[in-house]
Amino acid sequence: LAKTTQPISMDSYEGQEVNITCSHNNIATNDYITWYQQFPSQGPRFIIQGYKTKVTNEVASLFIPADRKSSTLSLPRVSLSDTAVYYCLVTGRGAGSYQLTFGKGTKLSVIP
């Protein structure tokens, strides 16, 4: 699976929009981009997944350009409770193999 690169950390003030960009230059045709969130001492939580263009749900938006070599997770109007580590993963659909490979993620700190 393609390797992902994302910033180690980001700071943001409450109420601001936060964009976390992830690069995945070697993404394969069948791969999807998936983002997870992890609070301290908790399990990762699925946020959003996309293949191309834009995906939006009640939590976030995911922007994927046409070449799919990068993606941007957008969190609108963050609050203190959004302080967490955010992981960008490239997930394939290999039959019988659904192993998730986590990187170090981006530690987002929301400041009051």
Binding site: Y32, G43, Y51, G92, Q99
Partner: protein, 119 residues
């Protein structure tokens, strides 16, 4: 909303002892997984389980580890003889496999984890 549950939340054991970590996956899920996260490090895949057998396992999952689905609801991870370096958070996850023609990959739902401390 259905969720994955894990017990105990914290397990303390002596080196060399056996431990069993328990998980109850989401009821209609068919794939089950164990991951671990050593303090301050990445979440690492251990093993996946489907149709009562291991689908895939990582290098970490050596002969000291085993998994079992003893009944229709529980999924367990056993560490036969714990070592100091087994101290970590252990996460169980489950997912529903997607059929042919599905538009996206399966989503794995994680439990809250069991903190294992080996003394």
């Amino acid at each position: 909303e259905p969720e994955v549950t894990q017990t105990p939340s914290h397990q303390v054991t002596q080196m060399g002892q056996e431990v069993i970590l328990r998980c109850v996956p989401i009821s209609n899920h068919l794939y089950f997984y164990w991951y671990r996260q050593i303090l301050g490090q990445k979440v690492e895949f251990l093993v996946s389980f489907y149709n009562n057998e291991i689908s895939e396992k990582s290098e970490i999952f050596d002969d000291q580890f085993s998994v079992e689905r003893p009944d229709g609801s529980n999924f367990t991870l056993k560490i036969r003889s714990t070592k100091l370096e087994d101290s970590a958070m252990y996460f169980c996850a489950s997912s529903v496999p997607l059929g042919p023609g599905s538009l996206s990959t399966d989503t794995q739902y994680f439990g809250p984890g069991t903190r294992l401390t080996v003394l």
